[in-house]
C-alpha cells in the first residue's frame, strides 16, 4: 500500500481505509480524501496527556478515502519500514506516516534522547504494517547482533527496531576539558539483535562539539 515515488515522495493507495500521517505532509491526492487532525498523536486521552507531559509532541492527521495520496516533508529522503509485530523506535519528527495496523506510543529513552536534543522520550510504532520515516539523505540500515555491537553518533541516529539495549558512551577525559576534545565524545552503543537506521548527516546536538 505504501510506495515510494522517487525517493522523496510517499504514495499511498487507499481503498476506504485510514492512514496516520504527519500533519501537513500531504502534497497531492487524487480520488476522494478526508483529512482529520488528531490531537495527541491519535492515541486517545491517555496518549494526549503523555505526549503533553513528555514533550514528545506529534502533530498527526488521519487521512481516509479512496485513491492515491502523496506525502512529502521538506524534500527529505523517505524510508519504508515493514513491521511484523516488532517495535520501531523513531523520533516523532522523523515519522512521516503509518499504516492503520500500527499503533504509536511514547517511551522513555533516557540520556540518548537528551544528547540528541530531542528530549528524554521517543515515539514507538508497533503492530503489523508499514511505516515511513524521513531522514536527511538516504538512511543506512545497520545490523546489530550478538558480538557485533554498533556505535552511532547521536546526531546521525534516526530509528531502530528489534531487541536492542542502548548505552550512552562517553569518551570525555581531561583532554576534553583542555579543549582537545575529539568531537566524537558521545556515542550510543547498541547491543542485542536488531537494525539501526542512521542518516548520512548530523543534527546539531548538545554534545556535538565535545
Amino acid at each position: 500500500m505504501f510506495r515510494l515515488q522517487g525517493s522523496k515522495v510517499l504514495a499511498v493507495e487507499m481503498t476506504g481505509d485510514a492512514v496516520k500521517a504527519k500533519n501537513g505532509a500531504m502534497v497531492a491526492y487524487d480520488g476522494q480524501m478526508a483529512f482529520k487532525k488528531m490531537s495527541g498523536g491519535g492515541e486517545g486521552i491517555r496518549g494526549m496527556v503523555t505526549r503533553r507531559l513528555t514533550g514528545e509532541s506529534m502533530e498527526v492527521m488521519e487521512v481516509k478515502g479512496h485513491g492515491t495520496c502523496y506525502f512529502a516533508d521538506r524534500a527529505s529522503e523517505i524510508n519504508l519500514v515493514r513491521l511484523n509485530g516488532e517495535k520501531l523506535y523513531v523520533e516523532a519528527s522523523n515519522l512521516l506516516a503509518t499504516d492503520p495496523g500500527l499503533r504509536t506510543g511514547t517511551t522513555f529513552t533516557g540520556l540518548r534522547g537528551a544528547s540528541q536534543g530531542n528530549g528524554l522520550f521517543t515515539t514507538t510504532v508497533e503492530g503489523v504494517g508499514q511505516a515511513a520515516i524521513t531522514s536527511d539523505g538516504p538512511a543506512i540500515v545497520l545490523r546489530v547482533s550478538a558480538g557485533m555491537p554498533l556505535q552511532v553518533d547521536p546526531g546521525a541516529y534516526v530509528a531502530h527496531t528489534g531487541n536492542l539495549q542502548q548505552h550512552f558512551q562517553t569518551g570525555i577525559s581531561w583532554r576534553t576539558v583542555m579543549g582537545e576534545g575529539s568531537g566524537e565524545s558521545f556515542q550510543i552503543r547498541f547491543e542485542g539483535e536488531g537494525l539501526v537506521y542512521v542518516q548520512p548527516s548530523e543534527r546539531n546536538t548538545i554534545g556535538g562539539q565535545l
Binding site: E77, N79, L80, R82, D136, G137, P138, A139, I140, V141, L142, R143, S145, M148, P149, L150, Q151, V152, D153, G155, A156, G171, R175, T176, M178, G179, E180, G181, S182, G183, E184, S185, L195, V196, V198, Q199, P200, S201, E202, G208, Q209
Partner: protein, 265 residues
C-alpha cells in the same frame, strides 16, 4: 548497491564495503590502525575505535609527521583501532581519491578524512589544505565532483581543489568597468554586475576539481597564517586577513590549534 526484494539493504560489518562508498552520501573505512578525521563526520562504527583529539600526547609522533596545520588542529581527530567506520557530511556527495606520490590542494571544509600515508599541510592559499604523499582521502562536495584540465578559469565558489598543477591566480574581467557607465557601475554598484567578473585561473598540467553548485559548505574560517609568521609569508600580519581571526579577539598564544578555537571562541 543492490536492493533486495521487499526491503532496504541491510549492512553489517562484513558486508560494508572496504574503503569504499556505501551510497553516494556515506563512505565506509576499514580501519586497521589510524586515520585522520574531521570532527563530527563519523556517523557510526563497528569494532573497537578510539578518537583522540590532536594535541600533545601519545600520538605526538604521528601528528608531527603528518599534520602541519596548527590552525586546523582543533577541527581534526585521529581515529585509532580496528573496525568499520562510516563517514558522512550533511548528506553531501562523498568521494574517495587515491594519491600516489602526489599532491592535492582542497578547500579545508571539504576534506573529511585521510590516511596517515598523506601529510596535511596548510596551503598558502587561505582556506585550502594541501595533501602530499601516498594514500587515500575522502572529500565531500555539494553535488558530484567534476574533473577538468587546465588551462581553465573557474568560479571561486565552485572550486573544490586541484592536483599537480600550480596554484591558481586571480583573474578579473575589467571589460564591465570600461567607459563612463562602466565606471559609474564600478563606483556605485548601480546597474549590477553579473557576479562572474572574478575567476580563478589555472595553467599548467594537472587536474582541477569542481563541484556542481556555487553554494559553499559552511566552514569555520581557517587557513590564515599565524600572526607570528615573519615578513615574506603571504598573509602574515595583515589585519582581517582571510581567516579573519586576527583583529577581533586577541589570540592567546597556543600550541597546536590555538586555545580559543578549542573552546569555540
Amino acid at each position: 548497491m543492490t536492493a533486495m526484494a521487499g526491503g532496504p539493504v541491510i549492512h553489517d560489518p562484513h558486508t560494508l564495503p572496504v574503503d569504499d562508498n556505501v551510497n553516494p552520501y556515506a563512505f565506509s573505512v576499514e580501519l586497521k590502525g589510524q586515520w585522520f578525521l574531521q570532527k563530527g563526520k563519523m556517523i557510526a562504527y563497528y569494532g573497537q575505535i578510539d578518537f583522540h583529539g590532536i594535541g600533545h600526547g601519545r600520538l605526538d609522533r604521528l601528528v608531527a609527521t603528518n599534520f602541519h596545520s596548527p590552525l586546523h588542529a582543533a577541527d581534526w581527530v585521529v581515529a585509532e583501532g580496528q573496525g568499520k567506520l562510516l563517514l558522512a557530511d550533511r548528506a553531501y556527495d562523498v568521494n574517495s581519491f587515491d594519491l600516489e606520490n602526489g599532491n592535492l590542494t582542497i578547500r579545508s571544509g571539504n576534506l573529511l578524512a585521510f590516511q596517515p600515508g598523506l601529510a596535511l599541510k596548510q596551503s598558502i592559499i587561505p582556506g585550502f589544505l594541501t595533501l602530499i604523499g601516498t594514500g587515500k582521502f575522502v572529500a565531500a562536495s555539494n553535488g558530484a565532483v567534476h574533473f577538468v584540465e587546465p588551462p581553465i578559469r573557474v568560479d571561486p565558489q565552485a572550486l573544490v581543489g586541484w592536483a599537480d598543477c600550480p596554484s591558481p591566480c586571480h583573474h578579473y574581467d575589467h571589460g564591465y568597468m570600461r567607459g563612463v557607465l562602466g565606471g559609474l557601475r564600478a563606483l556605485t554598484g548601480i546597474g549590477g554586475t553579473s557576479g562572474e567578473e572574478h575567476q580563478f585561473e589555472f595553467v599548467g598540467a594537472g587536474q582541477v576539481l569542481l563541484q556542481s553548485t556555487e553554494v559553499l559548505m559552511p566552514e569555520t574560517a581557517t587557513g590564515g597564517v599565524p600572526a607570528s609568521a615573519g615578513p615574506g609569508v603571504p598573509g602574515a600580519g595583515v589585519p582581517g586577513a582571510p581567516g579573519g581571526q586576527q583583529g577581533q579577539v586577541p589570540r592567546l598564544p597556543g600550541q597546536l590549534g590555538d586555545l580559543q578555537r578549542r573552546f569555540g571562541l
